[in-house]
Amino acid sequence: MNPVLRTQLSGVSRRPARLLLTGLAVLVASFVVYATVLAQQITERSLLNGLSGTPEATDLVVREGTVTGAQLARIAAVPGVAEAAGRLEVGVQAGAEYLTVAADPGTGPLSMVAPVSGRYPAAAGELAVTPRTVQRLGLTTGSEVELRAGDETPPVTARIVGVVEPPSDYGDTAYAPLGTVSALVTEDVLQRVEIRLDAGADATAVREGIAAVVAGPEAPEVATGADVRLEEAQAMVGEINQMFAVVGMFVAVAVAAAGLIAASTFRIVFAQRMRQLALLRAVGAGRSALVRALVVEGLLTGVVAGLTGVLAALAVGHTVRPAAGALGVDVASPGFPLAAAAATVALAVLITVLAVLAPAFSAARVSPLEALRTAATTGARTGIGGGRRLFGLLFTAAALGGVAVVLAALPEPDAQDFDPSPLLLGIVASGACAYIALIALGPVLVRPVLVVAGWPLRRLGPVGRLAVGGVGGSARRAAAVSVVVALGVTLIAGTLVGGASVQVLAERELAASAPADFELSASDGTGLPPGYAGRAAASGALTRVTPYRRIDTTVGGVETAATDLALTALPRLADLDLAAGTTDGFGPGRTVIARYVADLANLRVGDTTAVTAGGRTVRLTVSGILSDMGPLHSGLVVDGSDLTGLGAKAAPTGLLADASADGEQARTAGLHALRDLTAGDPRYGVAVLADQRDQLRGNLTVVLAIAIALIGLTVLIAVVGVGATTALSVVERVRESGLLRAVGMSRGGLRTMLTTESALYGVVGAALGIALGVPYAWLAVRATGLNAPLTVPGWQLAAVFAALVALTALAGVMPARRAARVSPVTALTTD
């Protein structure tokens, strides 16, 4: 073996923990990658094990073609067939609501529903509903409902005789035997037939028999139940795979972050060995031999880190099943995907080798003279070379150019048919350039950030001053670690800002479409009968009962609806903020208009315009322009007297109301109060706007939470990097620690200083990350063409900042404790 390599490797084998510390970020990255692979395995296998949409007892399925009721009877008569269940789903109008009526035998292995209460329908005109349908549509057992499958079909009255639990409950489904369901429609067509065979029947023969029955021009396929279940499960798995593809993108960013951290740690480790390397050079080792030895060391680090990460992920992956089992959840074991394990280790090695290249080349450039110098004043390079500066400036220019191009191509607010993807791609490219520039120019940027961030610390006394000095003194290292923290913070800040902007947009949209919990409106435009509002308010379950009127008008050539629902009538309407003007002094002769009306009709605040409806005209002065839509998506908000002037009838178009208290119970009570009011009159429909609102809000929150959790991977690796860097720099600066202890710094002081240094990496990274993330997020929100305001979620960003600083400080606690335990004599005599 090459003697240089041997020297290096014997050093490594004497301190294997150091090797692991160097590769810690790669270890975590391999863990994350392989854990993702295992998570996908677990999810896929659990789904495949689980039930598809087809009962397990199904041996054959006739599908994708026309099967008639008569054919079903003949299929059931084929020798060997034990049971044949025809499947048919029909969508019907149940009063004012939508209801799916599905055919199910109700009993036997082919039934998909389990009885809950009552009985399963037997006679025509009987239905069983799912538990959520009972709640949603108020279809309790014993009640009657009028079903209408289409305009031509006469309505049928059905009675609810029981409640059944389906595989998944969407809240709008009723079940009945096939006969009842097919009676709802005129055509005699089944969607599919599921068949159970007699025990010991010859499947092939039965299959042929069935094929003969259904033969014809549009003959359906006869497939085995196993195949169909597999296909259905795979369709679900396909969705899962798409989800994991998105997860994979975030994991890729985390892996890249691990590479950056590894490069930085290698630099530190090699700097520690500078004298040893110089000695090797002095006794005649060639540069290329040094590079080779260092790269092999990196390779070894990659193998060890990758293997450890994979094994750790495997260990965790295999505890999931017993752990879930203990909680009563059945999930599949991830198995042992060996190819993926090998690929993960290979990825770890590749990343580590890429990371080691630059540090290895620069370490091998060490002058042999370095061996003769004292170590006391070496290191601590702070500036960057001209080439690196030029490189950084080039990428800064590219990033700014990208921003300029995107700015020039930004769409008008509310632009139609606008495709934001090229602009978003441009922003991603510009962001990547900016990040590369940040890596290159980092050491220069650290100083100004430190000057600001370090100011209060400097005030705190010598320990703070030394910590700031320690970070600033090795600006290159500080930059290398901080940019990775910055990457995580950039992504999180961007997500938070984007999320907050979209949230404001969503709130505005919700205020426009769902200003109250409930809306009661007349479907045929006749208006509500008088007295409804009063009776609703008197019910006790409702509050803020607000009747409104709405008519179609034309203003400046724009057709739009006008309403007399005042912007102050309901508290939620306050989210409809004004882009210009004011609502003060709103009254007869005035109007507040939606932004698109202002744009299309070319109206400004103070303009007076003619509004026409059905031949009548009223002249109104624009007192305010909304940022977006008006309430209930109207274009104009006018005074009641003006609406009357435009020919609106006195009867309200509808009424809005809030539940008198928060919570599901109050909401159900409010809904019942409104239902009682209409007494089942099909002309009046009740919409639970609150449900729509909750769902929209919930979706947004879930999406943001998932995105932030995934970005958390990158942050985790950044924090691991800060910990490793602090640990290594503590080892490197053990003499310095010894000196500080010798001249009278207390143990606690030294601990505080090193922990503060570690936290400063977080401060610098978080500051750079927020500075980069917020503007890019704004640009991205603009580029999507959404009319969303630029929002800064200040508290959330402050929390991210604080959390990052706390995490990085925490990462430094252990190394700082270790450094403080070493006696000053040992530290001073360490070479």
């Binding site: 006391a376 601590a380 030394l466 001249v743 009278g744 207390s746 000053p824 004599v825």
Partner: protein, 257 residues
């Protein structure tokens, strides 16, 4: 060659040594591998005097200094710093003593690379939360020839300049004792001579007590007194030493082993 006459130690002004070891024992390791680095050393270092500790490698001279300076704790025996017994004191007390009553100069300078020369000089005072006496600071900076170098970082200074910064750092807090561990070991002869002259002037002009560990007879000759150590025991002393006397004594020690 002029040979100085040997003279007895002048009695201490207040009858107390600035720092003293009483029957000091330091054992490293345990059992068969135990090494007695110090084996019952009793020695006092007079106030306002420049004393050198000498001895062959492994004689325990560095260990003695570390124990005297509160950097290391002895196995048995006592260390008296002025009237304070440093033996068996908790780290907190030792830290405070190092910060306020002791100054250090090391072989490899040990300056903090991220601090300027001025900041390095005031570091112990900063840690103690005290301000430097401006008159003393200016005097030290002028005497040590650092006036133009205060804003420089250690990497921008020569070895001699770095060691003078270290000297200023040790002197600026008016320590009771200044310990110097091979202060000229990393310097060329001219810079070394400068530093030694400065140490001697510190005792003459500032009344500073200096204890220096060295293996260089030439350096020891700058001291008022040389304490000789061999195998962890006191092996004699020379007052008003010169190079020849010190060399001779060292050779005798080496031959006697």
């Amino acid at each position: 060659m002029h040979i100085r006459p040997a003279s007895t130690t002048a009695p201490d002004r207040d009858g107390l040594a600035a720092v003293a070891a009483v029957d000091l024992v330091k054992v490293y390791g345990a059992g068969d591998t135990a090494v007695r680095a110090l084996d019952g050393v009793t020695v006092g270092f007079d106030r306002g005097r420049f004393t050198a500790i000498m001895g062959p490698s492994g004689s325990g001279k560095s260990t003695l200094m570390h124990c005297l300076a509160g950097l290391d704790t002895a196995t048995s025996g006592r260390v008296m710093l002025g009237g304070t017994d440093l033996t068996a004191q908790p780290d907190r007390v030792l830290t405070k003593a190092r910060r306020e009553r002791i100054g250090f100069v090391f072989q490899s300078f040990n300056l903090l690379p991220q601090l300027t020369a001025a900041d390095n000089i005031t570091l112990p005072l900063d840690l103690a939360g005290r301000k430097a006496d401006p008159a003393l600071f200016d005097r030290l900076v002028t005497t040590l020839g650092l006036a133009g170098r205060l804003t420089h970082r250690p990497s921008e200074l020569s070895g001699g300049q770095q060691q003078r910064v270290a000297l200023a750092r040790a002197l600026v807090s008016r320590p009771e004792v200044l310990f110097a561990d091979e202060p000229t070991g990393n310097l060329d002869s001219r810079s070394g001579a400068e530093v030694l002259t400065l140490l001697r002037e510190a005792t003459r002009d500032l009344g500073q007590t200096v204890v220096m560990v060295t293996h260089d007879a030439g350096a020891a000759a700058y001291a008022d007194r040389v304490v000789l150590l061999a195998d962890g025991r006191l092996a004699g002393e020379i007052h008003q030493p010169d190079i020849a006397a010190v060399t001779e004594a060292l050779q005798a020690l080496a031959a006697g082993r």
